[in-house]
Structures are given as structure tokens and as C-alpha cells.
């Protein structure tokens, strides 16, 4: 705990989750994948808890996409740890929710909380896996093109572009400052050390800010006049839309079947 490194994916830049594989999912344009996975998650969230077999089918569909994209399941399982705080919340839910109580291994828990927590866990996990599939199959630059193609305001796309480009530099700056502080004898473990940790972070902010000014001046020096140039990306073909939308379409069929049968 004394020397917690600046861990996490940020240190490796915005492509931290990317797994390069020659697959049809990787080749699809980002905007198509974004829309398809968003609609898929919307269908998952819209599914009532009474239609629980549908969730199994969604899981199978997502597993199919993962297999199609040739993503290693281990990587996805590891990345799912991001959910942990939320899992704790879902596990607490049976104990705090209201409604009729049921006995589970000697504990009296709320029935609606038990079912609600389980459904929440399933929906949340499906959502996280869908987001991981998106991040693992899409390069950050293509994701920017996709966001631009989805009509996100140009200024916002430009800001996101700079944010992901300089993300690893900002984390590395912080990491170097931390190592320098440790080398000077600051442990960072006691409350009296807050000032010194904050000092390194503050100086990193000043450095980052000044770098931002330099970057803009360099862009002006190279002839930037007006807004940022549009990223060169291609439009998705109808066939690509059909391929990608097969996933949410299948989920929709599952939802309809689940509603009729249950």
C-alpha cells in the first residue's frame, strides 16, 4: 500500500484492451459496432426479469460474438473485474430490499431483492462484456472515426482525440513524479504526506497544461486555421450494417419469444 503504482489501463494508452485478431468483428467499422452493441444492451436492459431464459440466450449470443472475434475468454474475464464494486452492491441487495422474505441457507432475505440483485448482476455483466467486446476489437483511432460518423460534435471528437493520445503521457508523468518522490524519501503512506503527493500531482497538472499550450502552438505553426480537420474514415456499407445488426436483431427475437412464452 505504501507504493501503489499508477496502475490500470491508462498507463498503456487507450488501446489497452485491444486484442488484434484477423476477424470479421475487428474489420467492421466502429460506428456499426457501437450502434449494434448499444442496441443489444438496450434490448438486454429492456428484458423483464420474468423472462429469465432470455438472459441465457443473450449470453450465448455474446459468447458467439466473442468466438467470432477470436478474443481470449481469459482477457475478458480479467477485464470484468471492473464490475467488482457493483457486484458487492448486488450481493447486498437481498438484505436491504423490501417485500416478502424467503429463507436461503438459514438467512432471511428479501425475495424481490434476491431476484432483483441476480437480474441486475446478469444485466450488468452482459453490458460490461458487450463494452469489452467493443473495446477489444476496435482501435482507438477507428473508434474516433466511428464517434465522428455518429455525428458527435467535432470539437468533442477533437478533445477526445487529444485525451486518448496524451493519456499514457499524463499517466507516465504521474508515475515518474511518484518514483521521484519515493527516491527523495517520501513514503506516501501517511496523512502528513498528502501535501507531497498533491505537490507532484499539481506540478504534473502545470506540465500537462503547458504541454497543451505547446501542442496548440505547434498546430498553429503548421498552418491550422479554423476547426480540426475531419478524420478520414469510410462510411459503412449496407452489408456491414446487416452483419453487425444481426446481433441486436437476434436479441430482439429472443426478447419477443421470451415475452410470448413466459
Amino acid at each position: 500500500m505504501v507504493a501503489t503504482p499508477v496502475a490500470g489501463p491508462a498507463a498503456r494508452g487507450a488501446d489497452a484492451l485491444l486484442v488484434r485478431r484477423p476477424s470479421i468483428v475487428h474489420r467492421l467499422p466502429a460506428q456499426v459496432k457501437l450502434v449494434a452493441l448499444l442496441v443489444f444492451v438496450v434490448v438486454v436492459v429492456a428484458t423483464p426479469r420474468t423472462a429469465w431464459p432470455a438472459f441465457v440466450a443473450y449470453g450465448v449470443l455474446l459468447a458467439g460474438v466473442i468466438a467470432l472475434a477470436r478474443l481470449p475468454f481469459g482477457v475478458i474475464a480479467r477485464r470484468m473485474l471492473v464490475e467488482t464494486p457493483f457486484v458487492v452492491f448486488a450481493l447486498l441487495m437481498p438484505f436491504v430490499a423490501s417485500g416478502p422474505r424467503v429463507d436461503v441457507v438459514g438467512l432471511s432475505v428479501s425475495e424481490s431483492g434476491l431476484i432483483g440483485g441476480a437480474v441486475l448482476l446478469v444485466k450488468g455483466s452482459l453490458g460490461v462484456v458487450a463494452a469489452i467486446v467493443l473495446a477489444a476489437t476496435t482501435e482507438s483511432r477507428e473508434m474516433l472515426v466511428g464517434l465522428e460518423r455518429l455525428r458527435l460534435p467535432g470539437v468533442l471528437v477533437a478533445i477526445i482525440g487529444f485525451a486518448i493520445r496524451y493519456l499514457s503521457i499524463a499517466s507516465e508523468d504521474l508515475e515518474r513524479a511518484r518514483i521521484a518522490r519515493l527516491a527523495r524519501g517520501g513514503s506516501g503512506g501517511r496523512s502528513s504526506q498528502l501535501r507531497s503527493v498533491a505537490g507532484t500531482v499539481g506540478s504534473t497538472f502545470v506540465r500537462t497544461y503547458e504541454r497543451g499550450e505547446r501542442v496548440h502552438r505547434a498546430m498553429l505553426a503548421r498552418g491550422l486555421d479554423g476547426p480540426m480537420p475531419v478524420l478520414s474514415g469510410r462510411a459503412a456499407t449496407a452489408a456491414e450494417w446487416r452483419t453487425a445488426l444481426a446481433l441486436p436483431a437476434a436479441a430482439l427475437v429472443v426478447l419477443a419469444a421470451g415475452l410470448v412464452l413466459t
Binding site: A46, P48, R49, E83, P85, R151, P153, A170, T208, L259
Partner: protein, 355 residues
């Protein structure tokens, strides 16, 4: 802290998405003159900084360490509008590039952790600075109070969102007590860290801190004859600032009323049907049971009738969900369409000034 998918139901997620889109559109408009001046690189790098700092462990006393959420720090360092853009970018990058926080919950996350913390934090800071003496130490005090209030405010906002669109019927009192109680503690940590980092920046480069701009000294020039002339510290700002405020007000009203209409309409829809589709299913499930008990020649008719209403009920639910999503998209689209027309004017102005 990130809300995952499935936590908040779809209509309310769409409503918070509309609120977030509206707030971001306003922030884009308000920050436009500044971004034209500094380029998109600066807010981009500040976003990268906030993202990276969120992963630093700060010792906050009593043997515990915490990490920064960053909303109040961003508002203090680069101002409310750019700060809101930076927080939005951080949450968007986390959701889309790092699979942290659900895709459908993006609007909720941006509304909660971005809009509420930045706006509340900045408002509290401004109020506190109005009362406190004009000293640089007042900035730290104001930021401390702001961070301590903004984090519980986000918890209150989340509880409100949960009350309307939560997917499990936990008694609201319990959610509120747990969320707000816990976030009062987090708020103290956030306040300590924000103040410490802000003090460090104030000591090194006070001119970079947005909320300390009023403390900049006027430039006093003394020429060879000993004659003194003063140049006001904010001499360069008012020209672009005023036109932005004028343009912004109309957009604020349009976007806020649009968001209010959507939020009101959708929350009405949501409160009438606690869990849209499930409500329909339950209602009709009971009906189904009743008709099965009744038996007799009428039962066949009743069941087929229920079957029909069930299907139509399910379809109605789906159409409702699709509609809410479409409304959210339409508002974003309209806001986007409207902007370039209005944006053209100040751009021409500034180029005329520049030329």
C-alpha cells in the same frame, strides 16, 4: 461509482441521456470562444490529466487512501464549461474505450458525476468566494467547501434518479441514507485531495487556476518620465465573452426546456410503469390466472383476449422504449443541427477582429 447497465431502467436512462446531451451542448457553446483561443488540445490534455489522476492513491489520513473523482478540481482549474467537457470526455472514454461504466448508463454517469458535481461545485465555489476575502487562501477554502458539498450532491442526484428509474424496490430511505452517508465521507476525502492539489497549482502557477482569475494583479507600466499607466488584468477578455453569453442564453432555454419536457414526460411514463415491460407482464399474468380459474366456455375467449393484449402490451412496451431512445437521439441531432448556424456568426466576428 460508475453505474452499470441495467441499474436504471431504459426510459430514465434515455431521459438522463437527454439531460447530459443538453448540458454538454450548452457547455460546448459556452466554452467555444475559449476553445477557439486555446485549441482543442488544452481541454483534451486536461481530460487526460483528470483521467490519470483518478488512478492516483492519495493518503487522506487515518491510514486510509482515496482517489479523486475530479469534478470540482476540473471546475476550479479550467472553469465550469470546459471542466464539464473534460469530465464528459473522461466518462465517455472510460465507457467506450475502457468498458468502465455501461453504454446505456453513460447518460446517467455523465449527469451524475459530470454535470452535477461540476455545476454544484462551481456554484458553491463562486458563492463562497463572494463571501470570503480576496486572498489566494480563500480559493482553497472555497474549493474545500465545494468538494465537500458536490460529492453528496451527486449522491442525492443519483438517489433521485434511482427513485424514478431504479430497477429493484429498495426502500428509498435506505438508498438515500446509504448513498448520502457514504458520500459524505467520500466528499471529505475529495475535499482534502482537491484542496491539496489546488494549493500546489496555486503556489506554482496561480494564473492557470480559473477560479483565481479575479486575483490577478493589474499590469502597472512606468515610462521614462515616471508616468504610471495600468492595464487591467482582464483587458483581453470581455469582447469574446459577451457575445458568447448572449448566444448562450437562448440555447440554455431551448436545451433546458427540451430536457425538462423529455425528463418530465419520461419520468411520468416511468412512474406509471415502475418497470415498463415487467409491469405489463405482471398485470396480465394475474389476469391470466383469474381467467384460468373461471373456466367454462368464456375461458377460451378470455385467454385469447389476454394473449392479444399481452402481445400488444409487449409491443407497446417495446415501441415506448424505441420512442424514448429516438427522442433522445432527435434532441441531440437537433442541438447539433442548430449549432453550426449560430456558430457561424462569432467565428466571422473573430476572424474580422483578427484580420
Amino acid at each position: 461509482m460508475h453505474v452499470p447497465d441495467g441499474f436504471i431502467d431504459l426510459p430514465v436512462s434515455a431521459a438522463t441521456g437527454a439531460v447530459a446531451a443538453g448540458a454538454v451542448a450548452i457547455a460546448l457553446r459556452k466554452a467555444a470562444p475559449e476553445i477557439r483561443e486555446t485549441g482543442p488540445a488544452l481541454p483534451g490534455l486536461v481530460s487526460a490529466f483528470i483521467f490519470a489522476v483518478q488512478m492516483v492513491n492519495f493518503p487522506v489520513g487515518a491510514g486510509t487512501s482515496g482517489h479523486l473523482l475530479g469534478g470540482v478540481l476540473a471546475a476550479a482549474l479550467v472553469g465550469p464549461w470546459t471542466g464539464l467537457l473534460c469530465m464528459t470526455v473522461v466518462l465517455l472514454v472510460q465507457g467506450v474505450f475502457f468498458a468502465d461504466g455501461g453504454l446505456t448508463a453513460l447518460g446517467t454517469n455523465i449527469t451524475d458525476m459530470g454535470v452535477v458535481t461540476v455545476i454544484v461545485g462551481y456554484a458553491v465555489m463562486r458563492l463562497a468566494l463572494g463571501v470570503l476575502p480576496r486572498r489566494s487562501s480563500s480559493i482553497s477554502v472555497a474549493a474545500f467547501v465545494a468538494a465537500m458539498l458536490a460529492v453528496p450532491a451527486a449522491a442525492v442526484a443519483f438517489t433521485g434518479i434511482y427513485a424514478v428509474g431504479g430497477s429493484v424496490d429498495i426502500p428509498l430511505g435506505k438508498v438515500a441514507t446509504a448513498m448520502i452517508g457514504w458520500h459524505v465521507l467520500i466528499g471529505i476525502g475529495e475535499a482534502l485531495i482537491t484542496t491539496a492539489v489546488l494549493s500546489a497549482v496555486l503556489a506554482a502557477r496561480p494564473d492557470l487556476v480559473f477560479v483565481a482569475r479575479h486575483l490577478r494583479r493589474d499590469l502597472e507600466l512606468v515610462d521614462a518620465d515616471g508616468k504610471r499607466t495600468t492595464v487591467a488584468a482582464d483587458a483581453l477578455e470581455p469582447a469574446t465573452g459577451r457575445s458568447a453569453v448572449h448566444l448562450g442564453r437562448r440555447s440554455v432555454i431551448i436545451a433546458l426546456s427540451a430536457a425538462a419536457v423529455v425528463a418530465f414526460g419520461l419520468s411520468y411514463f416511468a412512474s406509471a410503469h415502475p418497470d415498463g415491460l415487467e409491469y405489463v407482464g405482471q398485470q396480465l399474468g394475474f389476469e391470466h390466472q383469474d381467467s384460468a380459474v373461471a373456466g367454462g366456455p368464456m375461458s377460451g375467449y378470455a385467454v385469447s383476449g389476454v394473449q392479444n393484449t399481452f402481445l400488444s402490451g409487449g409491443l407497446a412496451g417495446l415501441i415506448g422504449v424505441a420512442l424514448t431512445v429516438l427522442i433522445g437521439c432527435a434532441i441531440a441531432w437537433i442541438v447539433r443541427r442548430v449549432r453550426p448556424v449560430e456558430k457561424a456568426a462569432p467565428e466571422r466576428e473573430s476572424s474580422a477582429v483578427g484580420g
